[in-house]
């Protein structure tokens, strides 16, 4: 395309309106961070972009000081603890805010500081997956995502995988393409490669087939209450499992089984479909368009749960739903 050249920081121009830039900012000190981030934000403000910062209050304060109040007042600051609640909620919030607030103003110039501490291994894997999905979910949109990783504060494997999920890397040396970057579908498939432990022997079990979902729903409501799920969250849980079971009946093997148990403060529910190898390629991560038949079910399931894992193989398919009990 005429006029499109390899990008360097601060040289994004109007001919990049429809291109997603997704960069990992790897820094060792707060000073390095502000040296890189402040010009990026400042140039966005000058260019009239929608400039948004999602970090800890401490980093936000550093940036405000570095930029000056006049520039900072034209930036939207969001607290990262409220934003990064769960990979699915965050993805949905990105979809909502970009369409409603940010893109109408122009190009989105985002600086984020994802949260990696206090996460379980499962959650960390899903947040890594989230970074890979952003490349697909926001492909071809006028957005720049710069995601900050502090080398001392974040586990090394997180920074290594950042190089695999971000097409470009940014540090005090400057901007360069990431040699480690992998196709998001490949990274996604890698996240599905770990084996699921089978349900414990004490898990409550029930089979289902067509016409038997009313009974399955009663079973789920009773058992989840027994395992400590508050009544107000019972129906969303039942809705999620019902959607998965419906999919097994209508598009899968036609019948399946449900296992339900609690461990480590979570309610877990497996739905097994012995009759199908389900293809999971960003399944339920790309927001359904209104009234596009069939596309909404797994999106809804993921939204209703904390984490949903899908494993398919010779034994069929298992969909494992995690809900926080507290």
């Amino acid at each position: 395309m005429n006029g499109l050249r390899s990008t360097s920081l601060g040289q994004e121009s109007r001919n990049e309106r429809g291109i997603l830039l997704h960069r990992a900012l790897v820094y060792g000190s707060v000073r390095d961070f502000t040296d890189i981030a402040a010009p990026y934000l400042d140039q966005g403000v000058k260019a009239g972009d929608a400039v948004v910062v999602i970090t800890s209050p401490a980093l936000a304060a550093e940036l405000e000081e570095g930029l000056g109040t006049r520039t900072a007042s034209r930036i939207e600051f969001i607290d990262r603890d409220g934003w990064f609640r769960g990979p699915m909620q965050t993805l949905s919030d990105y979809y909502d805010r970009t369409r409603r607030d940010w893109w109408p103003r122009g190009r989105l110039r985002l600086l984020t500081e994802p949260v990696w501490t206090g996460r379980t291994p499962l959650e960390i894997r899903e947040w890594k997956r989230h970074e890979a999905i952003l490349n697909v979910a926001f492909a071809g949109t006028p957005s720049t995502f710069v995601c900050a990783y502090e080398t001392g504060a974040v586990p090394p494997h997180v920074i290594m995988d950042a190089a695999r999920t971000h097409p470009e890397l940014l540090d005090v040396e400057g901007l360069r393409p990431s040699g480690e970057f992998v196709d998001p579908a490949e990274f996604y498939a890698g996240c599905n490669a770990t084996r699921l432990e089978p349900p414990p022997p004490y898990a409550a079990r029930r089979g289902f087939a067509t016409g038997e979902l009313p009974g399955l729903r009663s079973f789920l409501a009773e058992e989840s209450a027994r395992l400590g799920l508050p009544e107000t969250r019972s129906l969303p849980f039942v809705l999620a499992v019902n959607e998965v079971a419906t999919d097994v009946i209508r598009r899968g093997g036609g019948h399946g089984g449900v296992w339900l148990w609690a461990e480590h403060g979570e309610l877990l529910c497996d739905v097994a479909d012995p009759g199908r190898v389900m293809e999971d390629r960003f399944l339920g991560y790309l927001r359904p368009r209104p009234l596009q038949p069939g596309g909404a079910a797994m999106w809804a399931v993921r939204m209703l749960c904390h984490v949903v894992e899908i494993r398919a193989g010779e034994q069929g398919t298992v969909i494992r739903m995690h809900l926080k009990l507290t």
């Binding site: 949905s92 067509t210 016409g211 979902l213 009313p214 729903r217 129906l235 969303p236 039942v238 809705l239 019902n242 959607e243 419906t246 009946i249 209508r250 927001r287 359904p288 209104p290 009234l291 038949p293 909404a296 079910a297 999106w299 809804a300 939204m303 209703l304």
Partner: protein, 283 residues
């Protein structure tokens, strides 16, 4: 006051039909008459102040024009249908009660299984019905539906009239499989959905939506819908497509949307679908 489906009526039932919508009233009476024909019952239209020799009461003519039975049915209908008139002209409770007993006896003598009474609406019965005396006999081979046009009475009068009956007669469900109950609504036109919409009840919902009368609006009362899956929700918000007059879109009004369904609509991004109006909960 109990509500009784017209299709579940049996001998000894004396029910009232307070109405303010003619479509709803006609639907109930047509089912009542149709069930009578199929069960070999005699149908008596009981009215006051109709000139003798007028054949079937004038109030029933419009109804019969709506019946869509074959010629055999039409012949059976004219044989089974009789008009009972009160000699005294205005409504007389004593005379009416006697007439029910006489009609039941006559029907039996004529070989019918029993008699179905329809009481014509009139303004004179405000003080009470009177037919309840005929139903004091538990063995009576008769049932009755007494019509009252709500628009003629004050609310307290309607209550007093209702109290003379065993209960209220209501329209038959379009579908009832123990999981999902679909009943027609008349003002505004639409459907009440109660129970659960899932993979097993979805086909019934689909055909009820297709069969709903065409018009510019379709009201879906969801206040008793305990469960609805995503496919069901898709069907509800798409119910306006091609359902209007001449294949145009119709406006879908969702009434009494439960909290979980509101959540599902927000999650799926369907809370603002063109042509779908979500009524605010009445609080």
């Amino acid at each position: 006051m109990s509500s009784n489906r017209v299709g579940a009526m049996t001998f000894g039932d004396h029910l009232c039909l307070p109405y303010d919508n003619d479509d709803e009233r006609n639907a109930i009476l047509l089912d009542y008459i149709g069930d009578g024909l199929r069960s070999d019952h005699k149908v008596v239209y009981l009215s006051a102040g109709v000139a003798a020799g007028d054949g079937a009461g004038s109030g029933i003519d419009g109804l019969l024009g709506r019946m869509t039975y074959g010629t055999d049915d039409a012949a059976a209908l004219s044989a089974a249908l009789a008009a009972g008139q009160l000699e005294t002209g205005p409504w007389d409770a004593d005379e009416a009660a006697v007439l029910v007993g006489t009609a039941a006896g006559l029907a039996r003598a004529q070989g019918y299984g029993g008699v179905r009474i329809i009481r014509e609406p009139d303004a004179a019965g405000a003080s009470g019905c009177g037919l309840e005396r005929a139903f004091a006999d538990p063995g009576v081979q008769a049932m009755a539906v007494c019509q009252y046009d709500r628009r003629w009475f004050a609310a307290a009068q309607v209550e007093r009239l209702e109290a003379c009956h065993d209960g209220r007669v209501v329209v038959n469900a379009l579908h009832d499989d123990g999981v999902l109950v679909i009943t027609p609504l008349y003002a505004p036109p639409g459907l009440r959905l109660a129970g659960a919409i899932d993979e097993s009840t979805l086909p019934a919902l689909r055909s009820a939506l297709l069969g709903a009368r065409r018009g510019p609006h379709l009201c879906l009362d969801l206040s008793r819908l305990d469960f609805c899956d995503m496919e069901g929700l898709e069907l509800l918000v798409a119910a306006g497509r091609g359902g209007g007059v001449g294949g145009m879109e119709r406006q879908v009004v969702l009434r009494g949307v439960p909290g979980y369904l509101d959540l599902m609509m927000r999650i799926s991004g369907w809370e603002a679908v063109p042509g779908v109006f979500v009524e605010e909960a009445a609080r």
